[in-house]
């Protein structure tokens, strides 16, 4: 979706504010205890396996631009978690609003125990999959990012659409977020790092250099 989360190249947000760690000190990771809990709860409930990371990202970005931009980072995470809990049937909206259980729990999901935390994090969730067909592009190929405006989830940023680039790296096939976020399954696609010259995106005043973006094969057309 062309949402407010797709921020590349927007202007008007003001300067970046480095933290104490940037200045050689030590900044706290969380600004309040509730942020700490939202972080931990999101990871813990995610371990039930009732949704995937693409669904999580879509749940966070799928909201009105004004609402997205008005929220702090962990407010967005909290809203995303609440949305996923309701969509997955783990909780009802009424239960979340009231903060208590009003119905028996859904079928007992996998529950992450403290003793499993280190091993679970160390294992992670690799997105690489066996390819179902050979890659359409080889290193050095000239490509163009597709012009598109899908209503659902996508990981092709708006600022690249229609711009020429060059295949730089091939990462093999990976879970395709556009389908995986919306119940369409993993449908692995080849993934490439594509180099876009900054001048092809921002014009002649751009800095010398390139933007390297991970693009799934369906995002790319061969250059004419």
């Amino acid at each position: 979706m062309n949402g407010a989360h797709d921020l590349g190249g927007m202007q008007g947000f003001g300067p970046v504010e480095p933290d104490e760690t940037s200045r050689g000190g030590s900044a706290a990771l969380f600004k309040a205890d509730w942020e700490r809990r939202v972080f931990g709860l999101t990871l813990a409930v995610g371990a039930t396996g009732r949704w995937n990371i693409d669904m999580s990202r879509y749940a966070r970005e799928n909201q009105a631009p004004g609402a997205y931009l008005a929220k702090s980072y962990y407010q967005i995470w909290l809203q995303g978690l609440e949305t996923l809990l309701v969509q997955s049937g783990l909780c009802s909206r009424e239960e979340i609003e009231q903060g208590r259980s009003l119905a028996p729990p859904a079928e007992p999901p996998r529950v992450l125990k403290a003793a499993q935390v280190a091993a679970t994090l160390a294992k992670g969730g690799p997105s690489a999959r066996a390819a179902t067909r050979p890659p359409a592009f080889v290193l050095g190929d000239r490509v163009v990012a597709k012009v598109m405006a899908p209503a659902g989830h996508t990981r092709l940023p708006r600022y690249l659409r229609g711009r020429p680039g060059q295949i730089l790296l091939h990462h093999g096939a990976h879970v395709f977020p556009d389908t995986n976020a919306c119940g369409g399954g993993e449908q692995p696609e080849h993934l490439y790092s594509v180099a876009f010259d900054a001048k092809d995106i921002w014009g002649e005043q751009a800095y010398p250099g390139s933007i390297r973006v991970d693009c799934f094969e369906p995002y790319l057309d061969p250059a004419a």
């Binding site: 509730w34 709860l41 990981r155 990976h174």
Partner: protein
């Protein structure tokens, strides 16, 4: 999103208590999250001890010191550097760092006249096993919008000025590949041990918003090894 300093929900948090709020109980965000956690525990979906363990892991165990070990090894050991550039996931796992949000790593190297910078314009993708959880500024609208458009201006806000003809390589991590910047090794460290070198590697130097510290910036070489 709004700068977090201006987020009204923070003004009543535990970290910034205001005397006049004490009688009113917790602020709305705290109340909402406490209620949600109580519901999830009551339903049997989460073990609060596991939630504590997850938080503690990223507050105390997994952070940029891990990445600093990787960079220091790459500086000190040419064979390791070659492995890191060829297969970062495997080379980083050699040092015991792997897993969530670092399943597919790529290492990119700065050089004279060449500077790498990592961003996620769409959300907050960041290599957790080597750098920990991303800082607030990395997730901010200002950084996500501008890193790809005007990296030079962003770097200046971090106090970093590079020569005008520096080539920028901006890595927008839109998929599950995670990027680690190998900063340039500072001059005057030729005989330093790996432990000493690791002290020069800052979090920001591995994102690209900073450079490695110079020998003069660490108080006593070898004396501050963690």
């Amino acid at each position: 999103m709004a700068p977090e300093d201006h987020d009204p929900s923070h003004s009543h948090s535990h970290d910034h208590p205001h005397g006049h709020d004490h009688d009113a109980g917790p602020d709305p965000m705290t109340k909402r999250v406490q209620a949600l956690e109580a519901l999830l525990v009551e339903k049997g979906y989460v073990d609060p001890v596991a939630v504590d363990a997850l938080i503690e892991t990223y507050e105390t165990k997994i952070g940029p010191r891990n990445g600093a070990r990787v960079v220091a090894r790459a500086w000190a050991d040419p064979d390791y550097r070659a492995r890191l550039l060829a297969d970062a996931t495997g080379a980083i796992a050699e040092l015991g760092f792997a897993g969530r949000q670092g399943e597919h790593m790529v290492a990119v190297e700065n050089a004279t006249g060449l500077h790498n910078l990592v961003v996620c314009t769409l959300c907050s993708c960041y290599p957790w096993p080597v750098l920990g959880v991303p800082p607030t500024w990395y997730k901010s609208a200002a950084y996500r919008s501008r890193a790809v458009l005007e990296p030079r201006g962003v770097l200046e806000e971090f106090g970093v000025r590079l020569p005008e003809d520096t080539e920028f390589r901006i890595w927008d991590s839109t998929a599950e590949i995670r990027y680690l910047v190998i900063p340039e090794r500072p001059a005057g460290t030729e005989d330093w041990t790996e432990d000493q070198l690791a002290e020069l590697v800052t979090r920001d130097s591995m994102i690209g918003t900073g450079l490695a510290k110079s020998p003069q910036e660490v108080s006593s070489p070898g004396g501050t090894v963690s």
